[in-house]
Amino acid sequence: MFETVLRRFGGTRHAIGRFLIVCMVVGFLALLAAGVAAVLTVVRTERHTEMVNHTYVVKLAIDRARTLVEQGETARRGYLLTGDKAYRDNYVIAARVTPREIDRINDLTADNPNQVRNIGNLRMLVSDLIEQRERTIADTDAGRRDAAIATFTAEKNARRMFRIREILSRMSAEESRLLTIRNGEQRAGINAFYVTLSVAALLLLVVATFSLATVLQYTRDLNASQERLRDFADSLEEQVAERTAELTRANEEVQRFAYIVSHDLRSPLVNVMGFTAELESATATIRDLIDRVDAAAPGVATEDDRLAAREDLPEAIGFIRTSTQKMDRLINAILKLSREGRRTIMPDRLDIAAMGRTIRASVQHLLDERGAEMIVEDPVPAIVNDRLAVEQILSNVIENAIKYLSPDRPGRIVLRGHVEGSRAIFDIEDNGRGIAPSDHTRIFDLFRRSGQQDQPGEGIGLAHVRALAYRLGGTIDVESELGTGSTFRITLPLTYVDPQSGQPANKENEKP
C-alpha cells in the first residue's frame, strides 16, 4: 500500500519529501481541528452549565415565592382565628418579602416571554391578594373579626390562592422544560466534541502511520543505496589500483620493447653502414680504374661506365648514408626515451623559481640573439621530485618556446606556477608563432612536429617531455592559438609518489 503511494509519488527523494510535508500538514490540521473543537465545546459546556445553574436559581426563587405566599397565608389565617400578635408579625414579614421575591424572579426570567407573561399575572394576583389580606388584617386589628372572616371566605370563593399556586407550578414546569432542553443540548455538544476528537485522532493515527512507513521505507532505501555506494567505492578503489598496476606493467613492457627494438634495429644498421663504407672505398677503387683506363686506352670505358663510377654510385651511397644516419638518430632517440623510463627517480626538494632562473641563464645567449626576454615569476610552488627530470622538462619546453618565437614581435616567455590541491601547476607561456589546434596532441608524439619546418630537430623533445612528466606522476598539455602564442601547462604532484609502493617520497630518506 505504501509502495503504491510511494510509486504514485514517483518514489524520488523530492516526491517523498513532498509526501511527508503533506502528511505533516494534514496531521497538524487534524490537531488544530481537535483543539478548536475542544475549546468550542468547553465554552459551550460552560454556557450550558451557566444556563442550567440559572434555571435552578429560577426554580429556587419560584419555590421561595410559593413558600412565602403560603407562609403569609398561614400567618394571616392564624391571626384571623386567634388574634395572636405573633401571627401578625409573621405575616408582615412574609407580606413585605413576597413582592421582592417576585421582582427577583422577574429579573431572572426577563429573557423568557412565557415567564414574563406568568409573572405579570402572578404579580397582579399577589397584589390583589395582599390588598385583600391587608384589609382582613386591618379589620382584625379593629376588632371586626367577623368582617375579616367574611372577606376571607369571599376571597376563598375567588379561588385566588389556587390560581397563584397554578401559575407558580406552571413557571416551575417551564423551568423544568428549559432544563431538559439545556441538558440535551449540553450532551449533544459533548457528543460532538467526542466525535471531532475521534475523527482527529483517527486522522492523526493514519497520517502518523503513513509518515512513519514512508520514513522507514525511505531510510531502508537510503541505507541500501549507501551500502551499494560503499561497495561501489570499494570496488572502484580496487579497480583503480588494478588499472594503475596494469598501466605500470604496460609502461614497463613498452620500455622493454623500445629497448629491445632499438638494440635489434642497431644490428642491421651496423651492417648497412659498414657495407656502405666498404662500397664507398670500392667505388673509389673503380673510379681510379676508370681514370687509369681512360688515360691508357681511351674508348674502352663507355660513357655509362664513367657515369656509373663517377656519379651514380657516389649518389646512391650518399643517399644510403644520410638515410642510415637519420635512422641512427631516431633509434638513439627511442633508446634515450626507454633509458629515461628505466632511470631511478631520486626525489629531492626543488625550488622551481631558482631552477627557472638557472635555465634562463643557460639560454640567455639564445634570448639575446632573438631579442627576447624571459620572466620567472616568484613565488612559484616548490615540489619534491626528481631534479634531473624536472630540469629536462622545463628546459625542453623553454628551449622550444625560444626556438619557435615569432619574428614579428619581441619575444616574451613567462614561467609561473600555482598549487591546486595536491598538485603543482606550472605554465610556460610564450607569444610565439603558436600551434594549430589539430596539432595540439600530435606534437607530443615521437618524431612528429608542427608548423613550418625551419628549425633543426627530430620531433623528440616533447615526446621525451611527456614521457618524463608521466614518469613523475604528472601530465603536460598545451593551449595555443596559431599566430598568438602557446601556453604549456605542466602538472606535477607536490610530492612524488612511488607507483610501486604507493608511498610519497620522503626526501630526508632519499637524500644521504
Partner: protein, 147 residues
Amino acid sequence: MNDHRSVSIVMIEDDEGHARLIEKNIRRAGILNDIMHFTDGTTALDYLFNHKDGPALNGPALVLLDLNLPDMSGTDILAKIKAEGALKRTPVVVLTTTDDKVEIQRCYDLGCNVYITKPVNYESFAQAIRQLGLFLSVIQVPDIESD
C-alpha cells in the same frame, strides 16, 4: 699472438654481416690467425669442447662473443667456457651492441676478459675492431692444459 703455436680465433656472431665486417677489420689490423665463425651457440659450444680441432682438444684459442644469439644467450656460453675445465683460462672478448650496465657487470662477474660495445657509426666500429686486432696481436694466450 703466441708465435710458436697458432692461436685460432673463435667468433660467435649470429649476424653474417657483422662477422664479415669484424673479420675484414681484424685482417686490416694485420692479424692473420685462423678465424672460425659460428652463427649459433650450440654449434659453437660443440666445436669449443668436442671438435678434434677445437681449442679444448687442440691448442689455445681466443673467443669473440656476441651476446644476442638466436638459440641461447651469450652469457650462457661465457659461463660454460669460464666454468671449471680445459677452457677456463681462454680469453673471451665480448663484442656486442648491448651497453646495459647490468649486462656488462654480469659478464665481468662471469669472467669475461674484455667487454666492447659495437659502435653504430661505421668509422668508429672499424676503428674499434682494428684497435682490437692490434690488442689481440700483443696479448698472451695461455696454453691448454692437456692433462
